[in-house]
Amino acid sequence: MTPLEFFLSGTMSAATVFLLAALGELVAEKSGMLNLGVEGMMAISAAVGFVVTYQTGSHIFGFSIAAVAGIFVSLIFALVSITFLANQVATGLAVGILSLGVSALIGKKYESLTISAPDPIFIPGLSDIPFIGAVFFQQNIVVYCAILMSVMIAFCLNKTRLGLAIRACGENPKAAEALSYSVWKIRYGAVAFGGMMAGFAGAYASTIYTPLWADGMIAGRGWIAVALVVFGTWKTSRIFLGAYLFGMVTLGELVVQSLGFAVPSQFLTAMPFVITIVVLAIISADMSRLRLHAPYSLGETYDGSESR
């Protein structure tokens, strides 16, 4: 594999972690729910996914249980913020702190252990094409699933009745209820979907991308996923691009190090966060664009008292 092939194929792999988590957060936010517990959900799922895969040897099993763990955590968030009407920002932070602690507890006996990543899929013909084969067709199946998910989510949100219902809850829950949609059911569902996707993202991070468990291994990637939804101005296609861009930034760190540039490693580790801040400022500066695309009731508690 040439360095360029390594860089591009690594980008796809790194981007998948961001993409899965950001897509889940997108669906939750489209329904009006700002779930800031993504980092925590990913951490728990990464721990659970690793432990299950380590014990059973089955990646599929690890992924499934990790998704269940992600859904479970997201339902705690939903219970407190939807049913108990608590502030979404505070609840997301609280659930995040709780889950980071639980992830450390789950993974404690597995600290620094490794497992083997599953072999990438091999498509006869396509995978043999020089360059293109090495970059695009020697990836793990999850990478393709994530791309497929982006297309499906874009279609579902924009072209189906379910998507309309989700968006209605995010724009104007009172009106959605007047159209006889059950706002709390739709929001619970959207949050749980976000939990499942964060679960996949966590499991992908700890069993395929870097197949090991270390406390704090998510290292801010959940927060970058939350930021990606803003970068993408709540549009699936732009979130997809953003995820791949950040995959590239992550890989850039490895490339600069391997090329032997005398840059302190701390500078490179801080890079994705600095870039996030800069891009966030640039995108947010255009108020009109944000107002146009952000779900109107995003982050607002809906107690339904006026419509009942």
């Binding site: 702190i97 500078f267 400022a281």
Partner: protein, 363 residues
């Protein structure tokens, strides 16, 4: 839903006071269940958490050592939270306060001047404020979400700290450990009781608490901040600036967190090292909420969480409990608090009762 909440005509004052205690009770219940599932002894664990921290003078002095920074940062964060300005990067502001303050003893290793400590306090405050100012500027000028920016800035601050400790500021005689030289006595707060780590830096959070209390409760300023955060448009009409509330909240938080960071390096730690914050920046968020975002409530909440932190250290030894259990306890506490707080503004009503109510009012 089987039940739903009905808005009270006015918030229940009694429940505001009861909520933290209810949350603590539920959290203790939930953590007991988790402990039993792990096969731990409840007696040993809760003894370590709630009794051992009070068993010796040294342990009590350690509680107050934690109390200081938690109180200081939580009081400042609550000002922002009340105005719905979400600064969750106190951790980073604390690091930068510690870093900037440390520059003096790092570069003037021999100085025994009495101005050393005051200069470090000022630099610590400025370091924290400068770091918070980045977030305030980006929020006011570019509308960038302060939750994400303050959080990302914390990650960046941590890398700056690591860079300094592994590079230019590393103690040349330190066997390659990532830490600076031990600071000279003139750069340290004197201990309140000789031989204990508790020092005079505790005075700052206490004075700060009094100031915040006066500011929030007695002055019109508190009202301005709350309006600016809750409803930007209303604030503009009334002539207060929403940007002003953002600046004020973040700068006060940076000031407090910076001094808290400085107090750590000039206090119990005595040098700049990797674990300079001990997670106070995040714990302070929980303290602020558990205290009902009120200066007096925060005072007691900070004390309670200090006990939990020291108790966690004891539980680590006597009950073989992992350090993450303290984080879990804190997280549970905040989750249950937020859920319980609903009852302050809402009352419970089952579907059946509501139907009966509607029917009876119809006839």
């Amino acid at each position: 839903m089987l039940f739903q909440f009905e808005k009270r005509n006015s918030a229940s004052r009694a429940l505001i006071l009861a909520t933290p205690f209810f949350a603590i009770a539920v959290t203790v219940l939930l953590s007991s269940t988790m402990l039993l599932l792990q096969g731990k002894s409840l007696h040993t664990t809760f003894f370590a958490f709630f009794i051992e921290p009070f068993e010796s003078t040294y342990a009590i002095s350690e509680i107050f050592l934690k109390f200081g920074p938690l109180l200081l940062i939580a009081q400042a964060l609550a000002i922002g939270f009340r105005a719905k300005i979400w600064n969750i990067g106190a951790e980073g502001q604390m690091i930068m306060g510690a870093v900037v303050a440390s520059s003096i003893p790092v570069y003037f290793t021999d100085s025994e001047s009495i101005f050393l400590l005051p200069a470090m306090i000022i630099l610590g405050a400025l370091g924290g404020m400068a770091w918070a100012a980045i977030a305030a500027f980006l929020r006011v000028r570019f509308n960038a979400n302060e939750i994400l920016v303050t959080l990302m800035l914390s990650s960046v601050a941590l890398q700056i700290l690591y860079y300094l400790l592994l590079g230019p500021w590393k103690d040349p005689m330190g066997f390659n450990f990532p830490q600076t030289v031990m600071f000279q006595d003139a750069a340290l707060f004197p201990p309140i009781i000789f031989g204990f780590r508790l020092n005079y830096s505790l005075i700052i959070p206490l004075i700060f608490t009094v100031f915040v209390w006066i500011y929030m409760e007695r002055r019109f300023g508190g009202f301005q901040l709350v309006v600016g955060g809750l409803a930007p448009n209303a604030a503009t009409y009334a002539g207060y600036s929403s940007g002003g509330a953002v600046w004020k909240s973040l700068l006060i938080a940076g000031f407090a967190a910076g001094i808290a960071g400085m107090s750590e390096v000039a206090g119990p730690i005595g040098q700049l090292q990797r674990s300079v914050t001990s997670g106070y920046g995040y714990s302070a968020i929980i303290v602020a909420y558990l205290g009902g975002l009120h200066p007096v409530g925060i005072f007691f909440a900070a004390f309670f969480l200090s006990v939990i932190h020291i108790g966690g250290d004891y539980a680590l030894v006597t009950a073989d409990l992992p350090i993450s259990s303290v984080h879990i306890f804190q997280g549970l506490l905040l989750v249950t608090y937020l859920a319980s707080y609903t009852f302050v503004n809402y009352r419970f009503r089952s579907r059946k009762a509501q139907r009966e109510y509607i029917e009876s009012s119809a006839t």
